[in-house]
Amino acid sequence: MNAHAPVNYLTTDYRLSSWFTTTDHKRIAILYFATITLFFFIGGMAATIIRLELATPAGDLVTSDVYNRLFTIHGIVMVWLFLVPSIPTTLGNFLVPLMIGARDLAFPKLNLLSWYLFVAGGACVLYALFVGGLDTGWTFYTPFSSTYSKGNVFVAVLGIFIAGLSSILTGLNFIVTIHRLRAPGLTWFRLPLFIWAIYATAIILVLATPVLAMTLLLMTLEREFGVPIFDPARGGDPLLFQHLFWFYSHPAVYIMILPGMGVVSELIPCFSRKPIFGYKFVAWSAISIAIVGFLVWGHHMFVSGQSVFAGVVFSLMSYLVAVPSAIKVFNWTATLHGGWIKLDSPMLYALGFIGLFTIGGLSGLFLACLAYDVYVTDTYFVVAHFHYIMVGATVTAYFGGLHFWWPKITGRLYPEYWARAAAIVIFFGFNLTFFPQFILGVLGMPRRYHVYPAEFQVWNVLSSGGAFVLAIGYLMPLIYLSWSIFWGKRASANPWAATGLEWQTLSPPPKYNFAVTPTVVREPYCYTPEALPQNG
C-alpha cells in the first residue's frame, strides 16, 4: 500500500470483523460481489453439466433424476441468488449514494441485515439443492411441487422466502434513499439514468416479491400439512398458483433487465462523448416498463387453460412492453449517431448488450403472439429467448458496469487488452450457445429433457461448444480483475473523464463518500468531444 494514499473505505479498517459489521454501503456492495460471484459459478457449473449431457442424444452422462435436479439448481440459483440481486445489490449498493451525493443509504443497518438475510436464504437453498435435492424446476408448479415431488421443497422455499425478504428491504432502502437523500440541486430530471432504472427496479422488488413469498408459503403449507389450497382433487385450482407465481416472476424479469438498461444508459453517452438522446423518454420508459410489466404475467400461461379472452388481453399487453423497450434501444442508437465513439471494454459490453437485447426482445414479440407461442411453448425457443434477455443482456450489462466502475470501486485499472478480449469472447460464445437453441425450438425440441432425437444433435453440439467458449469468457474477467486488485495501475479519480457525482470523489472513495456535500447545477451527461479520456 502506498503510504501517501489517502484513507479510503477499504483501508479504514483491516480487521475481518470490520467487514462483517460494516454499515458502509460500499463495503456491503463488496460483500454482495463476493457472495453472488460464488452463486454465479455454482449455477454455471450446473449449466456446464447440462450442456455436456446434451452434447449427445442419449442420456449417457447423468440419469433423468439427476438431470431434473441440475436444471432446478441452475434455475433457482441463477434467478434468485444471482440475477435478481446482481446489479442492484452490487453496483446499485455502491453507486446509488455516490451518484446522488449522499453519505450512505437511508437505512445502513437495514442494508447490512439484507446481506445477512441473503446469505441465510442462499445457504438454505444450497442445503436443499445438495442435501435431498430438488426436481421441481425453478417454477415450483403445483400439484407436482406440493404433492408428488420427493425433493427437499420446504427448505428451498424457506431459503427463497428469506432471500425475498432481503430483496424487499433492499428495494425499500433504495426507494427512500432516492426520494430523500439527493444532493442539493439534484432534481429528478438531473438524476443519472442508472438511478431511474434502480428506482423502477426497487418499486417492482417491493410490490412483487411479497406475492412470491406468500405463494411459495401457501404451496409449502399444502405440502407439509396436507391442506388443500391449489389441489384440484379437493376443489382447489392449480392455475391460481401459476397466476400468483407469474404475478411475481414476470415482473422479476424486469427486476433483472432494468438495472442492466440503467448501466448501459451510463456507458453509451460516456463512450460516445455525447449527452444521451431523449433523456426523459429513457427515464420514463423505465417506469413504464415497471408498470406494464405487472400486467402481462398471463403470457406464461397461454396453454395453461386460462380463458381465450384472458390470453388475448395478455398477448396485447405483452406487445405493449415492446414500446418502452424499443424507445430505449432507439435512444441509445441515436446517442451513438455522430458521437466520438471510443471502443473501450465497457463500451464493447454496452454494444454487445444492445445487440443481444434486441435479439432477445424481438424473439419476445414472437412469444407475445398468442398463436405462435402455442406452437413453441416449452421448447428451446423459449429457453433461447429468456437467456438472450437474462444472460445476454443482463449479465453483459453487469460486466460492462463492473469494468466501467472497477477503477472507482477498487482504485485500480485492469489490463484493457484482456478486458476487450473477454468482451468479444463472451459475445461470440453467447451467440454460439444460444442462437442454435432458437432453431432447436422451432424444430420442436422441448426443454427439460436430456434425451432427444438424433437429428437435433448438430445444433446441440454447436450450443455445447458455444457454452465452452462462454465459460472461458466468464472466467477471464475473474482472473484479470482479481489480478488488477493487487498489481493493477492505480486509477485516478475519473479515468473515463465521465460526468456524474461518483467520479468527483476519490478512487476508491473515502468512507463518507464526499468531503463536502456536492451541489448539482447541471443536467446529466454533459459530455463534449473535447474532453476525451486520458487513460490507455
Binding site: A106, F107, M214, T215, V227, D237
Partner: protein, 214 residues
Amino acid sequence: MVEMHPEMQFSDLGQQQEIARLGIWVFLATEILFFGGPLLLYTVYRGAYAQGFAAAARHTDILIGTANTFILLTSSFLVAWATEAIKKDDGRLTALLFGAAVFLGLVFLGLKGMEYSNEYHEQLIPGFGFAFAEAERNAALLFFTFYFITTILHAIHLMIGIVLLIVIARHAAKGRYGAGYNAPVFVSALYWHFIDLVWIVLFALIYLPGRSGP
C-alpha cells in the same frame, strides 16, 4: 427530553424523521401485497363455492370475532392518541397509552387462542382431524384453510407489533421522544393501525358470510 443526534447519513433530525415515515409507508405497501395473495384465493374460491363458504362461515365464533374487532379498534384509538400526546412532549402518557394498547393486543391473542381451541374440539382445523358435512366438505376445508393461514399470519404480525410498542413505550417513558423528534412513535403506530386494518378486512370475510338472508 434527552438530546438526539441525527444518524450520520442525515443532515438533521427533521430529515431522519421524514425518512422513517416514508420507509414505513413503503413497508406497508409490501405488506398489503403480501396479504393480497390469500385474499385473491378467497375471492376466487368464494365465488366458486358460495354456499359452502357461507355454511363454513356460520361455524365461526362471531361473538369472539366481534369482541376482538372491538378490542383491536380500541387499541388503535389509544395508539392514535399516543401520537398526539408525544407531539405535546408527554412521553409518560405516550408510554401509558402504548402499554394499554399492548394489553388489549394480549387480550386479543388470548381470545383468539380460546377460539382456536374451540375450533380444535369442533374438528374445524384442516389437517388435524377436520370433519364437516360431506356436501360442503371441500369448500369448508378451503374456507378454514384460508381462515387459519390469514389469522395466524395476522397474529404473528400482532405479536411483532406488541414487542415494537413495548420497546418504543420504554424509550418514550425515558423521554427520548418529544414534539421535535417522534418518528419511532409515529412509525410503530402506523404499523399497529395496519394490523388493525387487516383484521377489519378479515373480520368481514371470515365472520360475516352466511349470517343474513336465507
